[in-house]
Amino acid sequence: MHDFLSLLPLIIITAGAVLLMLLSTFEKTNVETASYISMGFYGVAFFVQLVIGCGPEVTIFDQTFNGMLVANNFSMAAGLVILGCGFFTSVSGHSYFKVNQFCTLEFYSIMMFASCGMILLTLAHELISAFIAIEIMSLAIYILVGYDRQNVKASEAILKYLMLGAFAGAFFTMGTALIFGAAGSTKFMAIAAALNMTGEISPLLLGGSFFILVALLFKVAAFPFHAWVIDVYDGAAAPVTGFMATALKTAAFALFANFLAMNNVMHSGWVTFLFYLAILTMFGGNLVAIGQDNIKRMLAASGIVHSGYLLIALVALNAEQFSGSVIAYYLAAYAVGTLGIFAALSYLSGEGERRADFADFKGLAKVHPYSAAAITVFLLSMAGIPPTAGFMGKFYIITSAFNEGQVTLAVLGVVSSILSMWYYLRLIINMYFHEATDTFEIQGTPLATAGTFALVFCVFAIALYPVVI
């Protein structure tokens, strides 16, 4: 019975997706209803997920699914984050699509399909299922990115994302093939068993896991597989960007962590590799972010930096007693902040997202002090200033790095967050320290505004009551 309960959120979301898909054939239902429906489904799924909780580790339908799905605390937490992201994206979408009218019912349906893929991804302990889950998620996200067909930027974004995503997917399949060749199976348990036998990673397994890591690194936009992320974030609609920045990253990191934590041999084999990548990702991301004038591009680049921090957490995870709490907490903290900004952007950026640059937000604090304050809170959270969730996340990551002896990484992580101060502060400075030149009229519904403030609350709530840990 518990097996079924563990899958219940997934089922609810899938049901919601299918329902919306079916509804879209009826002319009568409008987009707002759809967004309420999706909010409802996300909300229900979220609470179901929350209520179920989880034991240490449950293999779902061991017989039927042949041990391919495993639920644990980590996947549960990641699932919560994903569902939360979905909920708030629906919320901000509600307002956003009031102004930017290119939405149809399928939007929410596809978003829920994407969430479905993500949740599968957090549960998957088998490579080909994971691959399919990735593809479900990715295809859905591609569609969301290019949803505005009139917009050539969106189309360009989808082209870039799809091409490079498929390219990375090809690596994933090749990696799976090599691992299959090495271990005779694609299940994590079997691979771990094979690793335990030899005690070290065999060349074939090395190559295979390398390609898998490459694909995952691409998904989380680690350096040097990061270049797409900026353009794609830029081209996509604000709620979509928020969704892909948070939920997608959560799902990808969930798989990443599960894969690495499969056993100690696997993890220790890749520590050095990830060590350098984490450093490169943090600093590369920062340097990309410095030069950006567009908020979404800056956030994309800062997302790269946050991936770098998460890579630190991956380096520092303890494969013997993997709980993933640090990663999950950081993901949650990051998700809350990023979603918040995108929620705010989705009602502030106006029709066709004409306010996109830093300079466009000059003097926002004079016109909309509360929104500006909320954005400030999110930015500070991303910058890791206490008492926000971002700070606690960073604190856990650095603590875990020190605890695993990764002193250099911890210090470099800190240095990188120093570098990142500039571009976070830049937006704050633009909002607060200049006179308003724009009127910042807010069209659309107040739902996104409400969502923004709810997220502000979350930022502090997560920070002050770090329940996950």
Binding site: T14, F65, N66, Q101, I158, G207
Partner: protein, 169 residues
């Protein structure tokens, strides 16, 4: 011996096809050479006793997917002047090869580290429809089911992106 000759023939064909794909300027020609590759790969599958996959490769890949691609190419009526002028293509190629060599050598190094063995065609239903089907529905039920989800998403996506837009107010 016969198998080896066949392998060499198929391998050569498939590599040639792949090179054709990369080198032909017009995608139509590229697609045709890709079909060559796919068919020869199908031959190789047969040599590896993967009967079902041999069939699927021919039907699904070379048949369905490639004809879809060809259809779209023709549907878009791509003329020569629509094609990108890829100046310095060969320079790129040379650079690309230089870049790829480490990857290739890495992979080949891995392959060479494996114990080699002969491949003979195995009978006894290995790779047959029934056997693969049993495994598919016993061990691999989950991927099978979620692939349906994937296809559904792709379906909706294609409709949304390329279909006729009806805006719902």
């Amino acid at each position: 011996m016969f198998a080896e000759v066949l392998f060499i023939a198929f391998a050569a064909l498939s590599v040639l096809g792949a090179m054709g794909l990369i080198l032909f300027r017009h995608p139509m020609k590229g697609a045709m050479s890709l079909i060559v590759t796919m068919i020869s790969l199908a031959g190789l599958y047969a040599l590896l006793s993967a009967k079902l996959i041999f069939v699927l490769q021919l039907i699904v890949y070379a048949g369905a997917i490639m004809s879809l691609i060809l259809f779209i190419i023709m549907f878009l009526n791509i003329q020569d002047n629509d094609l990108p002028v890829e100046e310095g293509r060969f320079l790129y190629l040379a650079g690309g090869i230089a870049v790829i060599i480490p990857i290739a050598s890495f992979l080949i190094k891995i392959v060479n580290g494996l114990p080699d063995s002969q491949v003979t065609i195995v009978g006894n239903g290995f790779g047959g429809v029934k056997e693969v089907g049993l495994i598919l529905f016993q061990d691999w039920l989950l991927p099978f089911e979620i692939v349906s989800l994937l296809l559904l998403v792709a379906l909706i996506g294609a409709v949304v992106l390329a279909g006729k837009r009806r805006l719902v107010k």
